[in-house]
Each structure stands twice: as C-alpha cells, then as structure tokens.
Amino acid sequence: MFKVLRVVIGRDLLLSMRRRADVANALLFFILVASLFPLGVGPEPNLLRTIAPGVIWVAALLASMLALGRMFAADYADGALEQMLLASAPLGLIVIGKAVAHWLVSGLPLMLLAPVLALQFDLPIDALLVLVASLALGTPSLTLIGSIGAALTLGVRGSGVLTSLLVLPLYVPVLILGTSAVDAAAGGVTVQAHLLLLTAFLIFAGAFAPWAAAAALRISLD
C-alpha cells in the first residue's frame, strides 16, 4: 500500500521536474506580488515592517492557490485520474501522495523563498525564522484544503476562479494563525501557542482533507 504512495509521489515529482516552467511561474508570481506591495504603499520602513507578515502570507497563499490547478486537472484530462480511482490503494492515500508531491514543488519553495522577500520588508531575524516555521506548518494545510476545492471543480468551466471562491474562505484560519505568529515574533512575544495551533490545524487537515478530496474526486469523475 505504501508502495503505491511512493509511486504516486515519485511520479508527480518526476512530472513536475519535466514541467519545470509551471513550478517556476507560481514562484515568480509569489515574488512579484510581494514586491508590488512596497511600491503600492510606499517605502516607509516602519509601515513595511508592520505589513510584512500579512503581505508575505497572503502572497504565499495566493501562489499556493494558483498552483492548485496543476494538482488534478492534467490527470483528469488524460484519463490518468480514472486509473488512480481504480488503484489498488485507497483513494485517500493517493490524494495524500499527490498533496505531498504538490507541496514539495509549490509549498516548500515558497517557504525557502520567503526569508529573502522578508528582507525586502526589513523583518528582524527572529521573525524571519518564525515566518519560515509558520509557512512550513501552514502551507501543507493550504495544499490539503485546496485539494478539496481542486477536486470539486474538475472539468467545470471557469474552474480556476471557482476554486478560489471555494477555497479562500477556508484558508482564513491558516492565514490568521500564520500572520499572527510572525507578528508576535516581530513584537518579541512568545510564538509557541501560534505554532502549536498551526500544527493542530495541520493534523486536523491531514486527517480530514484527503478523505474529503477523495470523495470529491469520486463525485467529479462519476
């Protein structure tokens, strides 16, 4: 059974490797959005420092949402998803595999890029570390929740916008927890509670979302 998990992760990573441009586009989007904010609100350092956590988190959230289209759509179009529904392992497990692979090429790079962007906003070093930690715990939740939305909108006209309409409201807790963790770190307050709550949310999403996404895939392919 875990062989199937490994095969799915390996396959999706291999596919992303051979379609590197798609991966790079989402990252470029992240960098661009985050860089637009200083241009929009002005270069005042104190202001930038205040808005930095929110801006970086929102940009990361949008970039990760943008990448959701890649998760199932191509496999849906060429019939590979049908084969996954007929696989010898539970569909929930396959969704976990796809989510892991998807996070490795969309969430992980965001997490590694974020500190560089945070320097543009003059965030203190402590806050930088917390930013990375909060993204490390938060972006997997985003991928997991997003997988439900991506699965529900398969093959639907205007599925990109529809996915965001469905998924963004559900992202709110992650956004709140993530930004306030960085805020707290920048303000010199202990961040343990925030990170613990993010972890709890991740565990919850990890237990629940693959199952829901699997049900959504079954509905979409019926």
Binding site: I148, L152, T153, V156, R157, G158, S159, L162, L165, L166, L168, P169, L170, V172, P173, I176, L177, S180, D183, A184, L197, F201, F204, F208, A212, A215, A216, I219, S220, D222
Partner: protein, 262 residues
C-alpha cells in the same frame, strides 16, 4: 435490451414493488405536499413578522445607552440566527443526500442556499447600520461579523458550484460535500477570528450583547426569528417546487400535473 425512449416515457408510478420508493417517488410526492404547505407557512411568517414588528417598535422600551438605534437588533439578531441555522439545515440535507443518495435532499439544499445567503447579507447589512451609531464604525473585524462574512462567501461558493456544474446530480453531490466541509470549518474560523481579535484589539469592542436584555426585547427577537423561519420554509418550498419542475420536466407525472393545471 431496453429502449431509452420507452424507458423515459413509461409512467413512473406503475413501476411495481421492486422500486425503491424512498429514492424515486420523493420529489414527485413532495411536490404537492410542499404546494399545500406553502400558504400556511407564508401566513405564519406574515403573522409572526407583524407581531414581531409591533413588539419591537411599540412594546419594547427605549434603551438607556443606545437609544432607538438598538431596535435594529430585532432584525439583526434573528437574521444572524437564521443565516447559521439555514446553513446547518442545508448541510444536513446535503449530508443526507450524500449518504442515502436521494434526489430530493440535494434539491432541498440548493433551494435553501439563496435564502440563507439573503439572511446572511441582512445580518451583515444591519450589523453595519447598527455598528455605525453605536461604535462609530460601519465595520469592525469582530469575530461574529467576520465569521458572518465568511459564511456569506461559503453560501456564494455553494451557489456558484451548483451553477457551474451542468449535470444536476453531480452538482448536488459536489455542493453537498462543500457544504459539509464548510460546516466543519465555520467553528474553526469563528474561534480563530475571535482569538486573532483579542490579540489585536484587547476585546475593547464587543458586539456580544446589548446592555440589558429585557423580556420584551427577547420576545420581539423570538417573534421576528419565528417569522423569518416560517418565511424561509415557505421560500425554500417555492424554490424546491421550481427545481423539481425544472429537473423532472420530461417525466409523465409532470405532464399529468400540467394537464390538471389547465
């Protein structure tokens, strides 16, 4: 082998004992039932609303601190109640539809969504109009208002998803799953916003309760809530009848119903 043309036109009621009535006769048998119930619910709605309006304007006394502005709560609070209650009912029907694969459940869920969205919007609108004179701001990022806003987005998501999928059965089931995901998320969203709110504002602003909860005030709110409730049922029934006719238009019983109508 069956011929599709025949199968589609054969009258449903004559299918015999093997058929699962639970699954097949529901929309058909519910249609006249809902039709008969609508006038009663509509009348009850009108009655409760008139009584509620009377209590809220002529019986409930002026509030010491907020003056007459507080009279907005007689629609604000019932509307907020209804917005959440309708979402729960909708999620209930959605879940029932997914579990039992009944067609009527999905129709009920999609019939409730627009009315739920309406009450959510009313709750937000009246909240803003109440907040301005009371706290001097149209909008505060209070946990309740924010959750209400997210709830509105969830309603919109539900409606958009139903509208975007052409096959009604798939649309119902996809939207049902989304409704259930939403119902699990609403408490999480509420508590996370509340927690975030205390971090940022130190609980200086609280929409939580009106200063004094006199019995007459409570009575007014309950009456209005009952009125809204009855109205929601009536509206949902009218809408579900439309949906049934739209989806079952090619069946024999609809044709028969049309013949009776003239």
């Amino acid at each position: 082998m069956s011929r599709p043309s025949e199968a589609a036109q054969s009258p449903r009621p004559s299918f015999g004992g093997r058929i699962n009535w639970f699954k097949y006769s529901s929309p058909q048998s519910f249609f006249p039932l809902a039709g008969a119930a609508i006038p009663w619910f509509a009348a009850a709605a009108a009655l409760f609303c008139v009584a509620g309006l009377y209590v809220s304007f002529f019986v409930a006394p002026t509030d010491q601190q907020q003056g007459e502005a507080y009279r907005i709560i007689f629609i604000h609070v019932p509307a907020a109640w209804m917005s959440m209650f309708i979402y729960l009912v909708m999620a209930f029907w959605a879940g029932a539809g997914l579990v039992f694969n009944t067609r009527l459940s999905g129709m009920m869920a999609s019939a409730l969504a627009p009315t739920g969205a309406l009450f959510t919007f009313v709750a937000l609108w009246t909240g803003a109009l109440w907040g301005k004179p009371t706290w001097g701001a149209w909008w505060v990022w209070d946990a309740r208002l924010t959750s209400e806003l997210i709830l509105l987005f969830l309603y919109f998501g539900f409606i958009a998803l139903t509208a975007a999928i052409d096959d009604p059965r798939r649309a119902d089931r996809a939207a049902a799953l989304f409704a259930l995901v939403g119902v699990i998320n609403i408490p999480i969203i509420y508590f996370s916003v509340q927690w975030w709110n205390t971090l940022h504002q130190g609980a200086s602003v609280s929409l939580t309760r009106a200063p004094t909860m006199a019995a007459t005030m409570f009575a007014g709110m309950i009456l209005m809530a009952l009125g809204f409730w009855m109205y929601s049922i009536a509206a949902a029934f009218i809408r579900v009848r439309c949906i049934i006719l739209e989806r079952e238009r090619n069946t024999e019983w609809v044709a028969e119903y049309m013949r009776e109508q003239r």
